[in-house]
């Protein structure tokens, strides 16, 4: 029996494509969506080529008042894994987004949902809960990713989750986790040298988002521009802060991009204190492309602001 000529072409195409079948179906990368850039960057480091990562927020954004956009809803709906910082950092916008997205793979009881602060010992856990205390976070200060121990903690949480969701990649995730932890450990030695001389120094902060970093460096947060977390300073607060800066002998105010505003300029002019804007998340500055760079760059700038001598390999 002869095959008709017209049947030959599809057959040839199929034969030509057979090596692709032998190699198995092409695997789509695991879609990971992270609430904040720090988690996204660490997930990229751990997941490598097996993952495609999207951050819902920008590095310079005020994480307490994020405005949800259509692309965020689409990304969450298509996610295989969702990473949240937790400690109610995202409580004003994320629960509604997750509810609307209706993605069962990232429901809170599924392995695809990862609370990256689970197991983290938070600081400033309130002993009583009342709005009299301002915008309190019941589980403690949620800005934990500025703690040098946070990177390894988050990386371990992500590697464990990825291995559960994508067991075929478990070996790769474990290998990349080890590499990441080694890279952080190497940098940690340098960070120890960077904070030398900072212990006992005092700073003011606009919001309580630098408290993990200052705790690591032994810096005392002596003054807060917000009278209570999340409560915007009033003209009376400006007078209070100026007075406290003088009384406490504090001449450095730490702020993020979102809070570097006219109030701070006013306080700086009246008190003579210097305002230092530091990124709090990856991509919050052009040089903060990775979480390791973020920590390193923040500590370098703190060291410069205190007038401490530069390390030989300090960089900028």
């Amino acid at each position: 029996m002869k095959l008709p000529r017209r049947a030959l072409l599809p057959l040839l195409v199929c034969l030509a494509a057979s090596p692709l079948w032998a190699a198995g179906p092409a695997r789509d990368p695991l879609q990971i969506v992270a609430s904040v850039p720090d988690l996204a960057e660490i997930a990229t480091a751990v997941g490598g080529p097996r993952v495609q990562v999207t951050s819902l927020t920008k590095g310079s954004e005020n994480l307490h008042s994020v405005r949800v956009r259509p692309s965020m809803l689409v990304a969450v709906r298509r996610a295989d894994v969702f990473l949240e910082a937790g400690l109610s950092l995202e409580s004003t916008w994320l629960p509604s987004l997750l509810l609307t997205a209706r993605n069962s793979k990232i429901a809170k009881d599924q392995p695809g949902f990862v609370n990256c602060s689970e197991g983290w010992a938070a600081i400033e856990v309130p002993t009583s809960l009342s709005r009299e205390g301002g915008d309190l976070h019941p589980d403690g200060n949620p800005h934990f990713t500025l703690d040098p121990a946070a990177g390894p903690h988050v990386a371990r949480r992500i590697a464990a989750a990825l291995s559960e969701v994508d067991p075929d990649g478990a070996e790769l995730y474990a290998q990349r986790l080890d590499e990441y932890l080694a890279a952080v450990a190497k940098k940690a030695e340098r960070w120890q040298r960077l904070v030398e001389g900072m212990k006992g120094k005092r700073v003011a902060v606009y919001h309580v988002e630098f408290n993990y970093l200052t705790r690591y460096a032994g810096i005392e947060t002596a003054v807060s521009v917000e009278s209570k977390p999340g409560v915007a300073p009033t003209p009376r607060d400006v007078a209070r802060v100026v007075r406290e800066l003088e009384e406490q002998h504090v001449d450095l105010i730490l702020t993020a991009a979102w809070s570097n505003n006219r109030t701070l300029t006013d306080i700086a002019e009246k008190s003579g204190a210097k305002v230092l804007e530091l990124p709090t998340q990856v991509d919050g500055a052009s040089w903060a492309k990775t979480w390791i760079d973020l920590l390193d760059g923040d500590l370098v700038r703190l060291r410069e602001a205190f007038g401490l001598p530069a390390l030989e390999d300090q960089g900028s």
């Binding site: 920008k58 005020n62 956009r69 809803l73 209706r102 709005r131 999340g230 915007a232 505003n261």
Partner: protein, 398 residues
């Protein structure tokens, strides 16, 4: 210990009864529903709803161009209790009880069923009309002190109904989403309407309590949102409210008008931009509405109810600028044909400054000027204070 043998049946009975006692159910008499839920008792707190409180108070000063009710006024406009809870993994409910300072009323009580899969939601109960950008929201949640003139005039200050609504959304590409809803309601006519402009209102909307399915009231909305760059988004929407059978009643005489219908269509367009720090923003947009059919009715000297049948249209435009995380300023202009016969047109302009003293306490200064063809113009200055405690969220907001 032989004397204890007779206690064995009692001990066994107590052991068997233990789970029932733990559930708080004493006895279920034949023919009556079981009362134990298995996880809670009458006084359990663990599975209780989340509760929030809100209050909205204001002081205003009104100056009329001519005679009228002018001067300063203080009022608790609303005090509200809202409770929300999941009732099983596929459904949640919320209820809002609100007072206008005098009467307590059930504003909303709605069950949202998510068990249809995909992004479908079935909503049952009493809830606000899904029309345009604003009608789903309570007045105290709005950007301005009052709803825009055109919405108050052609739809009503707050329009809610007992009904059923299907809601669904879907991605359309990576940066666009589309949402649509269809609802059927017992009634979507506002309970209070008209008379604020001084024109004779007199008659009130009236509908048969029981009517054919096709004669019930309907709502529909389709909207698309799209990212514009990394900081902006644009939304366009088309909405309708259909009242196929509507008459008007003179409450004094009980006289009814002939039956008619009313339909309102709306087209909205909004653009929003937020800076990289999510603190400064610009938003502008507007909505155009067109109503036709039985718009309003008056009672003549012979107690006949005369319906104003025709067309009316109007629009509002707004611009809002977020100065920082706490403060915003804005302006809104609305123009509309009034629904009362012979009332002509009206124009309203509002400017406002809103400041959040904290995340939960809002202070607003507002100045508005209303220009009516057939009644005195009005200037209104308002100081509004609104506070929230607890999770305050009424439902869909897009």
């Amino acid at each position: 210990m032989r004397h204890l043998r007779h206690l064995r049946p009692l001990a066994c009975g107590l052991l068997l009864a233990a789970p029932a006692a733990a559930q708080g159910s004493g006895i279920t008499s034949p023919g009556m529903p079981a009362t134990g839920s298995g996880q809670t008792d009458r006084f359990s707190r663990e599975f209780n709803p989340a509760i929030s409180l809100a209050f909205d108070a204001y002081m205003d000063y009104v100056e009329l161009d001519g005679a009228g009710d002018e001067g300063t006024h203080l009022e608790l406009r609303s005090a509200e209790v809202l409770a929300s809870a999941w009732i099983d993994p596929t459904a949640w409910i919320y209820a809002t009880v609100a007072s206008d300072g005098e009467e307590l009323a059930l504003e909303e009580a709605s069950l949202q069923y998510l068990g249809l899969g995909d992004a479908h939601t079935l909503r049952v109960g009493r809830f606000f009309l899904d029309f345009g950008k604003q009608m789903q929201a309570h007045v105290h949640d709005l950007r301005t002190f009052e709803r825009p003139l055109v919405l108050r005039e052609l739809l009503g200050e707050e329009v809610k109904g007992d009904g059923l609504q299907w809601d669904w959304w879907s991605p359309a590409g990576d940066v666009t989403v589309v949402r649509t809803s269809l609802g059927v309601f017992q009634s979507l006519t506002p309970h209070e309407h008209g008379s604020e402009h001084g024109a004779a209102a007199g008659a009130e909307p009236w509908q048969e309590d029981r009517r054919d399915l096709g004669k019930l009231d309907f709502s529909g909305r389709v909207t698309a949102l799209r990212d514009v760059g990394t900081n902006g988004q644009v939304q366009v929407g088309l909405s309708t409210r259909l009242v196929p059978e509507l008459a008007y009643e003179d409450p004094a005489s009980g006289n009814l008008s002939a039956s008619g219908s009313n339909s309102v269509w709306g087209l909205d367009l909004t653009y929003g931009w937020v800076d990289d720090t999510a603190t400064k923003s610009w938003t502008f947009g507007g909505e155009y509405l067109r109503a036709n059919g039985a718009l309003s009715a008056e009672v003549d000297l012979a107690s006949n109810v005369v319906v104003n049948d025709g067309d009316a249209s109007g629009y509002y435009l707004f611009l809002d600028h977020g100065l920082d995380r706490q403060s915003s300023v804005g302006a809104q202009y609305s123009r509309c044909q009034l629904v009362e016969a012979g009332a002509g047109d009206a124009r309203e302009i509002d400017v406002y400054y809103t400041h959040y003293l904290s995340e939960f306490l809002r202070l607003r200064f507002s100045a508005g000027y209303a220009d009516y063809d057939a009644s005195p113009d009005a200037l209104r200055l308002v100081i509004q204070l609104t506070g929230f405690v607890g999770p305050h969220d009424h439902g869909i907001n897009w």
